[in-house]
């Protein structure tokens, strides 16, 4: 049979039909403004070789998934990001979520903790416990995990500037439970590059931050082998308004920066690369998101094998956590957010995620209540047990559209990475404000598209209703700060001041030399030095980073 080309169909069949039924819009684009063809056919996959481009699950280049069994063997980890108020309150929420079938913990810290201030600092006024749980010392960490055996759950901690300190608190809390470090598993986000690019919870300037990160990689590779030392995050880049391509490109460019830094320190790449993990956003555009995850795996495998000459297949695998897009939720008609989150979560699962956070419907208004968090968890369970998509691996492979979008994503993200390489790498690019400006431009463009109704957001710029649905939202009072200040006072009163001074002095000299800071941070934690004290000690050597305020 003669091949009927797509061009032929466009000319002879679609063309005449368009005269009678014209397209609804002049152009069709993804959420990220990437053009989408009316139809994808085999013609769009010219040169596509499934053996090279896809491989098999668990085999290079891992496009189809990192595990040979995927969700038939083990479902993704249902991990809800959660934390508010005091460690006591959050501990109760963790026990509630574990009781309802959550399989991993994920700590949301408040802004004072994220920025390295104690609960009793002036800068913490009004902010303690508001956007997450407050942790000012090891004592708080002990309370946070009271009754939760740290050899039985894995914990992800969203912490960056002070990541090494919070890791030290966590490890010290595990030791106090009698759990050996070799059995402690979890993740610290610890991705400083994306802090300067998008999330803005930094402590030190880029170069000392990278040094601390490499210290953590070296320390954990030896002493805490089950710990993921960095979760290289596109999530916040996307939340700041980037496109899907920018999210992918800047995240992988950050990853390249960390691997490069590890190699420059003299660490063998296969010793630390298997403990690098990733974290992506799941936005509304279903097919675009699936293509992004598949492209990410293929690109990272190639980068690790071809660029860094990693030998171990574990170094080639891009393992990732996904969070549905907080920025996609609307305050208007908030129940619709459950539907948005479901579509996004489904994309993450079809994209082969290892772990997932689903946002609660009220997260655009406040931290979630117990019942809204439960619906978010149930959303994952319904996908896992009712939708059927978990029964076969990478079901969308071979789709003309999905494979085309995956290629397009890879091509455009690679062009960004080439550009960053040409600038001298990610640190130089950040210092020049390049990713920050690209994201600000994309964010502004997206807002214009919504304002001009080029993109429709249901309930916001179309299908608007007057009747407002009011939700019962979680409110955090100022008593959280009072309680934390009180606990901190008793910590300060009970500890040995000589030990505090000695461990801080030892930390300071480690910072000023080439010595690994992690053992010294563990000593500080056990001496009940506070987060603020430790960060102050480190800043005295490393200095501080300030927002350049590019808009």
């Amino acid at each position: 049979m003669v091949h009927r080309s797509k061009k032929g169909w466009e000319r002879e069949t679609r063309g005449p039909s368009l005269l009678r039924f014209p397209d609804r819009a002049a152009s069709f684009t993804t959420t990220s403004d990437a053009p989408v063809e009316p139809l994808y056919t085999a013609d769009d996959l010219a040169g596509f070789d499934p053996d090279l481009a896809l491989g098999y699950p668990g085999e290079y280049p891992f496009t189809r998934g990192i595990h040979p069994t995927m969700y038939r063997g083990r479902l993704w980890t249902h991990r809800l990001f959660s934390g508010f108020g005091t460690p006591t309150e959050t501990n109760a929420r963790y026990k509630y979520l574990l009781k309802h079938g959550q399989t991993g913990l994920s700590v949301a810290f408040d802004f004072p903790t994220l920025m390295g201030y104690d609960a009793d600092a002036d800068r913490a006024i009004g902010e303690v416990g508001k956007c997450g749980v407050n942790i000012s010392s090891l004592k708080d960490m002990e309370v946070l995990f009271d009754g939760i055996p740290l050899d039985r759950v894995t914990t992800s901690m969203t912490i960056n500037g002070p990541a090494a300190v919070l890791l030290a608190f966590y490890l010290a809390a595990a030791q106090k439970q009698g759990v050996p470090l070799s059995r402690v598993g979890g993740t610290v986000q610890n991705d400083c590059f994306k802090e300067y690019i998008a999330q803005n919870s930094y402590a030190f300037p880029p170069r000392p931050s990278v040094r601390i990160t490499v210290d953590m990689m070296a320390y954990c590779a030896k002493d805490v082998p089950l710990w993921n030392t960095i979760s290289i995050s596109g999530y916040h880049i996307r939340e700041a308004g980037s496109t899907a391509v920018q999210e992918l490109a800047f995240t992988l460019a950050d990853g390249i920066g960390y691997v490069q830094a590890g190699i420059e320190r003299g660490l063998p790449v296969d010793d630390f690369a298997p403990r690098l993990s990733f974290f992506f956003n799941a936005h509304n555009d279903f097919l675009e998101e699936i293509a992004k995850y598949r492209a990410a795996r293929r690109m990272w495998a190639t980068i690790m094998r071809e660029r860094f000459h990693a030998q171990s297949p574990r170094s080639w695998m891009l393992r990732f956590h996904t969070q549905t897009a907080g920025c996609s939720l609307t305050a208007q008609q908030p129940y619709n957010n459950v539907v948005r989150t479901t579509i996004q979560a489904l994309a993450a699962v079809l994209g082969g995620t290892q772990s997932l956070h689903t946002n609660a419907l009220d997260e655009t208004l406040a931290l979630p209540t117990e019942s809204s968090a439960r619906i978010a968890l149930r959303t994952q369970q319904i996908i896992a047990h009712e939708s059927g998509v978990v029964n076969t691996i990478d079901p969308l492979a071979g789709s003309y559209c999905v494979e085309s979008l995956t290629h397009q994503m890879e091509r455009e993200a690679s062009a960004y990475i080439d550009k960053i390489d040409a600038m001298g790498g990610i640190i130089a690019a950040i210092e020049a404000g390049y990713p920050q400006r690209e994201i600000a431009n994309a964010a502004f463009r997206y807002q214009q598209q919504i304002d001009q109704r080029e993109k429709i957001i249901v309930g916001v710029n179309d299908y608007v209703t007057d009747d407002s649905e009011t939700l019962q939202i979680l409110r955090i009072g100022d008593e959280a700060r009072a309680q934390q200040v009180e606990r901190l006072a008793s910590v300060r009163a009970a500890r040995n001041p000589g030990q505090v001074a000695a461990t801080r002095a030892a930390l300071q000299s480690a910072c000023a030399s080439d010595a690994n800071v992690m053992p010294r941070l563990l000593d500080c934690a056990h001496a009940y030095c506070t987060l603020g004290e430790i960060i102050e000690t480190m800043k005295s050597v490393f200095g501080e980073y300030h927002d350049p305020g590019i808009f």
Binding site: F111, L114, K130, A331, F444, Q447, H546, D547, F551
Partner: protein, 141 residues
């Protein structure tokens, strides 16, 4: 584009939260609409914001807060402005702010608050109107 006076606006991010997408989008929209915009960058204290506002001689301050600390931070900025005899500077803001807090903040003296889903043009139009009204009011004093 505005005819006549070019108003100076300080867009500020008080507190510790790092969510600057909204502040940057608004700063750019105001600049594109003809305002002279100064953006403080992140992690400012109320003292830093007020001192920048006085130094730059601004007509209005827009504060963006997405950390839940809005009751504390707006109050502090308003108090400082009063103590510096600069209460004529127009204060507006935006962020994740529950309805009942919006009512409370307006009672304290915040002129307007914008929440997610607001069109940029809405902010621009409101600010132009509010500044013009303030000017007429000052002229008649």
């Amino acid at each position: 584009m505005m005819a006549g006076k070019r108003y100076r606006i300080l867009v500020g991010k008080p507190g510790l939260d790092g969510h600057d997408r909204g502040a940057k989008v608004i700063a750019r929209a105001l600049r594109d609409a003809g305002f002279e915009v100064i953006y403080t960058g992140l992690h400012q204290t109320p003292e830093m914001i007020v001192s920048a506002a006085l130094q730059e001689d601004v007509d209005a301050i827009g504060l963006s807060i997405l950390s839940g600390a809005h009751m504390t931070l707006f109050q502090r900025v308003l108090d400082l402005l009063r103590s510096k005899q600069a209460a004529d500077i127009l204060i507006f803001g935006g962020g994740i702010i529950p309805e009942e807090d919006i009512v409370a903040l307006k009672t304290l003296g915040v002129a307007e608050l914008f929440t997610p889903g607001t069109r940029m043009e809405e902010v621009v139009t409101w600010l132009q109107g509010a500044l013009a009204a303030r000017e007429n009011c000052q002229k008649s004093d």
